[in-house]
């Protein structure tokens, strides 16, 4: 009964988004306000039914309703309840359901927090989102129905893939999808602007918080995914340049560019065409990511069910949404007009250059990800593109990006001069140079390549930190009051930028130190053996057994000591899940602020002495990678909470058609 309610709710939601995706758009172009007014109610109604459907699905999982195919294939009575809930979005059907649900959630949020927007704009934005929802709901109902029944009903389900039975996996997909789908708002705003021909500073101000929020979710989603891969796959890596990971990185890169480009459009009224293109591309890449992952078109370590029919459907959807919006862009963008001018040395051009670098970085990732597919399609052989490609391309692109990040944060809008920039940044440059040269030697590295790589990493990190501080100093210099008051007077959006940029620096430090100083050792150990890496010693004490709710594990006991003093015990496991018969490595990690010590079990060696192959790691500063991402996210959240958005919201209700700010033109006149 419950699954039927869920199914019915999905159909009702489809009917509502069909209205949401058509009438308000027609209404907006013909000026029929009754039709436009439908957008809010339909979006909210659709969200209600989508929540109901998701609730029904989760309920079916919780009560082990194996008469639902999706439940039978992805759950099991022995599965702990929390993972049964997570299993609702663990399967293909469930994840698409989650996607649609979140799209409904964002639409609903737009319908609530858009009181100050002109009716026409709201109608168009929600209309566009309705069209996207329609496509995905059709996909869900026609090819991936999460409520498909199974008869006769099996007594036991197949269990969730053991890899997904992990706290990280409970959160990773929803966060990632919140990010992916959140960019649909920026996309809808962009398409609405193209349709209506209204694209100005106020438009940018409306889209900014939405974009930043989506970006925050995506950052956290990627962070959790990376962290999960780090401790769950047992390989100790935090990024593998796997196609599925790349699929989430690409919208992040372009989304980052979009956030900054929107800032320029809001403050200076320039980059409009570029901003619109980025908004379309960001969401397109989110859709593309879903397509790449769900169609199984690429070889990946994440093996999902492959179904070409589904792939065709998503591809058709992509063609409609992306092709349609890009065609609209090509025909309407010339009408958007341009904004103020700026000189080559200015904050605008620093931001523009960074935008281009981010877009190019995304392009190279896309190329590397799809290159095997291109060659295969052209019958030129089967290849794989490994991490060295991505590293060799990515780092040279990131270095100038980071340099410009520092410059852009202190440069003046419109026109800056080199002597002035130098005056502001000379201390930052000096500290950076000293740190980059001295640190590798202080840390005891002498080989030229490792010194060069470390120096580059430290230079990038210190440059961001010192230049951000220089920017902060600049801002408070002329503010009255005590130092505390000076800091308190800065708007939250500034602190947001500050935190996010420092986050990038922290991230870079993490990556640099891990790359330069990590120690990995694969050894064969018999109980009693020790292995030493840097000043840590791992002692293999014994091998035991443990039975979990749905698995049986061989569990090793290791004692970790630092400089001879015991620190703690570590218990890595090798699990065998009952339902899948699949072995799973569960690494044991001693995590600290300055890095991790990591043990994972390889396999038993049959020599009658309980020997195992064991992998031990020392990963200094690896945690800084995650801290950096958290700081970036906090920065984004701070920026959204800036009171400017609320104040301007009130002001705009009184004066809805604010003309675009074009100070450059005014000055010329």
């Amino acid at each position: 009964m419950i699954p039927e309610i869920g199914q019915f709710a999905l159909v009702l939601a489809l009917l509502l988004v069909m209205v949401q995706g058509t009438l308000p758009l027609i209404g907006a172009s013909k000026g029929i306000s009754a039709w436009m007014a439908l957008s809010r109610r339909t979006a909210q109604g659709a969200f209600f039914f989508l929540s109901l459907a998701l609730g029904c699905l989760i309920y079916s999982f919780i009560v082990n309703d194996f008469s639902v195919l999706n439940v039978a294939n992805n759950s099991n009575t022995k599965l702990p309840v929390i993972y049964r809930i997570a299993a609702s979005w663990g399967s293909h059907e469930g994840s698409i359901m989650m996607w649609v649900f979140m799209l409904g959630m964002w639409s609903c949020a737009v319908s609530i927090f858009s009181k100050h927007l002109p009716e026409e704009m709201v109608a168009r934005v929600l209309g566009v989102m309705g069209c996207v929802s329609m496509g995905l709901l059709l996909f869900l109902l026609l090819t991936s129905n999460p409520f498909d029944r199974l008869f006769p009903v099996p007594l036991e389900g197949r269990d969730l893939n053991p890899l997904l039975q992990d706290p990280g996996m409970i959160l990773h997909p929803p966060m990632l999808y919140m990010g992916y789908v959140g960019f649909s708002v920026a996309f809808a705003f962009a398409v609405a602007a193209l349709l209506g021909g209204r694209l100005d500073a106020t438009w940018a101000r409306w889209s900014r918080p939405w974009t930043t929020l989506a970006w925050c979710f995506l950052t956290i989603g990627i962070l959790i995914g990376s962290w999960w891969a780090y401790y769950e796959l047992g390989w100790g890596g935090w990024w593998f340049w796997d196609p599925v990971e790349n699929a989430s990185l690409m919208p992040w890169l372009v989304g980052t560019a979009l956030m900054h480009s929107l800032a320029v459009t809001e403050k200076r009224g320039t980059f409009k065409v570029w901003t619109v293109l980025l908004a379309i591309c960001t969401f397109s890449l989110s859709l593309l990511g879903t397509f790449l992952v769900r169609s199984g078109i690429l070889t990946s370590v994440h093996a999902f069910a492959v179904d070409p029919q589904r792939g065709m459907f998503i591809l058709a959807l992509l063609a409609l949404v992306i092709g349609g919006s890009l065609a609209l862009f090509a025909f309407r963008a010339p009408k958007v007009g341009t904004g103020g001018t700026f000189k080559i040395i200015s904050r605008e051009s620093a931001l523009l250059a960074n935008n281009v670098l981010l877009a190019v970085a995304c392009g190279t990732v896309l190329l590397g990800t799809l290159y095997p597919l291109f060659l295969d399609a052209l019958k030129l052989g089967k290849i794989s593109v490994g991490p060295p490609y991505f590293e060799a391309v990515f780092v040279p692109l990131m270095a100038p990006l980071v340099f410009l990040m520092g410059v852009g944060a202190v440069a003046r809008w419109k026109e800056a001069t080199l002597p002035d920039l130098w005056a502001r940044l000379r201390w930052a440059a000096a500290i950076t140079l000293v740190a980059a040269v001295a640190l590798p030697f202080i840390l005891g590295r002498t080989s030229p390549t490792s010194v060069a790589l470390l120096a580059l990493g430290f230079a990038m990190a210190f440059w961001i930190i010192t230049a951000s501080l220089a920017g902060l100093f600049d801002r408070v210099k002329y503010v009255e009051g005590s130092f505390r008051e000076k800091l308190a007077r800065q708007p939250r959006s500034f602190w947001g930028m500050f935190a996010a940029h420092i986050g990038v620096a922290v991230f870079i430090i993490g990556v640099t130190v891990v790359k330069g100083f990590e120690i990995e050792r694969d050894v064969r150990m018999t109980p009693g053996d020790t292995v030493a890496i840097s000043n840590y010693t791992f002692r293999f004490e014994s091998m035991g057994e443990r039975t979990g709710p749905n698995f049986h594990a061989s569990r090793g006991t290791f004692e970790l000591s630092k400089n001879g003093k015991p620190v703690r015990k570590l218990y890595p496991e090798k699990r065998m899940y009952f339902a899948h018969g699949m072995p799973m490595t569960e690494a044991a990690i001693d995590s600290g602020i300055f890095g991790d010590r990591y043990v994972s079990l390889g396999e038993p060696i049959n020599d009658g002495k309980d020997s195992w192959s064991v992998r031990v790691y020392h990963k200094p500063f690896v945690t800084w990678i995650w801290y950096g991402c958290i700081l970036m996210t906090l920065g984004g959240l701070l920026a959204i909470s800036d009171r400017r958005y609320r104040v301007s919201a009130r002001r705009e209700t009184a004066k809805p058609s604010l003309p675009p700010l074009e100070p450059a033109k005014l000055e010329k006149a």
């Binding site: 195919l69 039978a72 294939n73 199974l150 008869f151 006769p152 099996p154 007594l155 036991e156 197949r158 065409v273 293109l277 379309i280 591309c281 397109s284 397509f291 169609s295 199984g296 078109i297 492959v306 070409p308 792939g311 065709m312 591809l315 992509l318 063609a319 992306i322 092709g323 890009l326 065609a327 862009f329 090509a330 963008a333 010339p334 799809l370 597919l373 291109f374 295969d376 399609a377 339902a579 899948h580 018969g581 699949m582």
Partner: protein, 178 residues
Amino acid sequence: MKKKLLLLIPLVVFFVLAGFFVVGLGLNPKEIPSPLIGKPVPAFSLPDLNAPEKAVTPQDFLGQVWLLNAWASWCVSCKTEHPSLARLAKTSDVSIIGMLYRDKPENGSEWLRRHGDPFTVSIADADGSVGIDFGVIGTPETFLIDKQGIIRYKQTGPINEEVLNKKIIPMIKELKQL
């Protein structure tokens, strides 16, 4: 005008990509049909697992729709598909021939005793030579063979409820009516 053409670039790039995707979807590994589909079942003569002196050949099943399931006691996925096979055996009168692939007959018999025997007839392909003729690359693999002894469908990997309900059962019904 030149500027307008520039604005078309993203659209063109996208459609080139989409073109590759269309081709790419066609390359999908699971789409590549087994070269054996539509061909007669390879000839074999293998001992019955329960009565080793008796030889089983494809001729024994002429005139009926049957399934040949290659499995092994060491194969974890075979255990996964076991409930589905058992359900098929119970709910349908189709003959399911279990071919123990590259495994010792005693291991196979023991496994069937422990987990239940869904097979109408069990045969042993201890050295895997018949498996090779069938193009078996891993276990489990299942072939659906019609009344004339023509292979109609091949399932690589375990049969799950979805495959059973959406592919195998409808195909059996259809083939029976021929």
